[in-house]
Amino acid sequence: MDFTLTAEQQALADSVHRFYEREYSFESRKRRLASADGFSRDLWRAIADLGWIGAALSEEDGGFGGGPIGNALIMEGFGRALVLEPFLSTAILSLQTLAHAPCSAVRDRLLEDIVAGKVLVALAHGETAANGDAEYVEAVAARRGAGWTLQGHKSLVLGSPSADVLLVTAKAEAGIGLFLVDPAAPNVRVQAYKTLDGCRVGDVWLDDVVAEEALARPGSGLAPVLRGLDHALVGVCAEAVGAMSAALTLTRDYVKLRRQFGAALSDFQAVQHRMADMLVELELSRSILYQGIAGLASPNEQRIRAISAMKAITSSAAMFVGRNAVQLHGAIGMTEDYAIGHYYRRLFVIAHLFGNESAHLDRIVRTPATFWPAVS
């Protein structure tokens, strides 16, 4: 084991740092959030040019072989600056799902276009009734001629309002398949709305939508999606670590500056202890993130437990750090004009994304413990 970054990883982390230092002031972020997409397409191209979209992919899939650590470094940096570009939805969730899908000409071209920053893809998999159970799908696929028709409702589809392509899961007799859907096709409706942190997401309705081809035929669609979700869970937990650490720094600086009762807030032991607890939560999240990344390579049950342990711990830490960061700021922490409230809202969303603490604890309970995840 070695917990220090390699020279290449350090270079990636540094370049991510330079990126958000250059592009992400509070004001420019606010403008971007208010724009039609809720992010900047120019920055998305810049991210593609930097080679980050495919950073984690193997070289044979057109990537740079940085693996999940590469993605985690990027997401941690993005979490620190609350970056808005759809890295999680397109470059991790969709890309990893595709990368794990059976080879086909369509898949390969899509991978290439995503990595080049030419298309934005959203995975439409989750449904309201799934309650965080990643394997649950109600949407149905039926054969029609050489293709398929799809029927169903997908909720909280990240990146869907701006997506050029949707990857949709739906169930047929043989099991869950993965289908390519044009969001502008007839009978597809994307209802866009915002999450509490201001990002645009959507619910997707498919009402007898024709899908010409299955990326993965019924019965083989769930596996790639679960792998995509594993990577997305690692990504979102890395983002949480970045956001928590930025929130902690902001709070530390604030309590040193803010004076009440003739002293800096940081002089009060109650404040010091709370900040110490926040640090503990942050560092445990970082540790379990590393464990989760290691777990990605493990066999089934072990991987599920590793990933779910990571998300359960991180969800709870994100809430603790986010809530207390606002608390220690006092009323100013509640305002739109101050950064900390934005961190709290992002951390709140992250805590609930891809299954909240309860959902992942439940998943651990349901998964037989054949291994102790960290040391096998």
């Binding site: 009734a129 999450t195 009440q260």
Partner: protein, 401 residues
């Protein structure tokens, strides 16, 4: 000890419930399902109805428009209002300022200011906090200098709830620059339309505007608007805060939240049936409920405590602390009951111009505003004496540390 509720109290509850059921207009009640930041016109309509019945401020002395109800009766009244999802009344006028004017105001002040509060005609804001005087309120700097029969007020208040539609503000101001911090403070009533008063909205993380900054620049306030004696403002402020010691538990609100959670979680589907029946969620809800019951019985103990009852009074100091924590937790659990849509930004009410143009697909009335409420409740442990400060008070005044 006797833990039975007297027969008359049951009868009283029924009387109140029947009145509210008959009197609360249906449209107001429907909006009340998203009971968070009530609309001003709803509150005013409702207050006029209550006032006709003589019930807009039961906790005021009867001769000034209140009632002679016992503390328990007043609590039950509030509890029934929440149960019926009636609009949240003008707290600043009714709960904060009213009792101070009743106790320390001149007969002229009482005659002028109390009736419009009772009838919902005039709206008040609380001008205590300043940018540099939050927890340490006594360090406030807004000054009022005597000039003939007027005070000239200069300074700034902030975090002033509903100041954007308040007609008046009661403010703590410094009238003596040399006295010890607490001793130089006076309690002043200021008409918001006076020249020199300006306000700036503050948008909060729930996507709404309830907070404001209020600026005073050479604002002339008649000396007749001073409450009580100059330099005694701090003790009136303390009186005001003591007066809301059981309402600060917000226990009736949280009970209502629990009903809401139950409703939402019954509708929410999961692969294992309704969310309400799943182990993890059901356990969380049961725990919250048990804690709310403990809180409510603490409120009951305080309501029955006599002046010199040390045990009862020490319980009072935990009501805000624990009540605010449960209040936030309930709102967070309600958002959780919405599943994926619990992280969606949602409009607060039909009239809110902050309403996002793009709405999540939420049809149930009860679900609207739930996630925004969860964000707003983050403030519960900050306002009205932050939890850290509450703990210090408990440690010092109860434990003698």
């Amino acid at each position: 000890m006797d833990f039975n509720i007297a027969h008359e109290i049951h009868a009283f509850r029924s009387e109140v419930r029947e009145f509210i059921e008959a009197a609360l207009p249906a449209d107001i009640s429907r909006r009340g399902r998203h009971d968070y930041h009530s609309r001003r016109d709803d509150v005013q309509r409702w207050m006029k109805i209550l006032n006709k019945r003589g019930w807009s401020a039961p906790h005021w002395p009867a001769h000034l428009g209140g009632t002679d109800w016992s503390p328990l009766q007043r609590y039950i009244f509030q509890d029934e209002l929440r149960r019926a999802r009636a609009p949240v009344l003008d707290r600043c006028g009714l709960d904060l300022l009213g009792p101070v004017v009743c106790a320390f105001g001149t007969p002229e002040q009482q005659a002028r200011h109390l009736p419009p509060i009772l009838n919902g005609d005039l709206w008040w804001a609380q001008g205590f906090s300043e940018p540099n005087a939050g927890s340490d309120l006594a360090s406030l700097k807004t000054r009022a200098d005597l000039d003939g029969d007027h005070f000239i007020v200069n300074g700034q208040k902030t975090w002033t709830t509903e100041a954007h539609f308040a007609d008046w503000i009661f403010a703590l101001v410094r009238t003596d620059q040399v006295a010890k911090p607490q001793a130089g403070i006076s309690f002043l009533l200021i008409d918001m339309t006076t020249p020199g008063v300006t306000r700036r909205p503050i948008w909060s993380i729930d996507g709404a505007n309830t907070l404001n900054e209020v600026f005073f620049e050479d604002v002339r306030v008649p000396i007749a608007n001073l409450v009580g004696q100059a330099g005694h403002g701090w003790s009136y402020a303390k009186f005001l805060l003591a007066h809301e010691r059981t309402t600060s538990s917000v226990v009736s609100h949280t009970k209502r939240d629990i009903e809401q959670i139950r409703h939402l979680a019954t509708l929410a589907k999961t692969p294992a049936g309704p969310l309400i029946g799943t182990h993890a969620f059901a356990t969380k809800l049961a725990k919250l409920e048990a804690e709310v019951i403990a809180l409510e019985w603490s409120v009951l103990r305080v309501l029955h405590a006599s002046e010199g009852d040390a045990a009862g009074n020490s319980v009072a100091s935990l009501l805000k602390l624990r009540g605010s924590e449960l209040s936030e937790r309930a709102a967070l659990l309600a958002a959780e009951a919405l599943g994926d849509h619990g992280v969606a930004a949602m409009p607060l009410s039909e009239s809110d111009d902050a309403t996002p143009k793009e709405l999540p697909p939420i049809e149930d009335d009860e679900a609207i505003g739930v996630s925004a409420k969860a964000m707003f409740r983050r403030a519960a442990t900050i306002y009205g004496g932050a939890s850290e400060v509450q703990r210090t008070i408990i440690a010092k005044s109860i434990l003698g540390l």
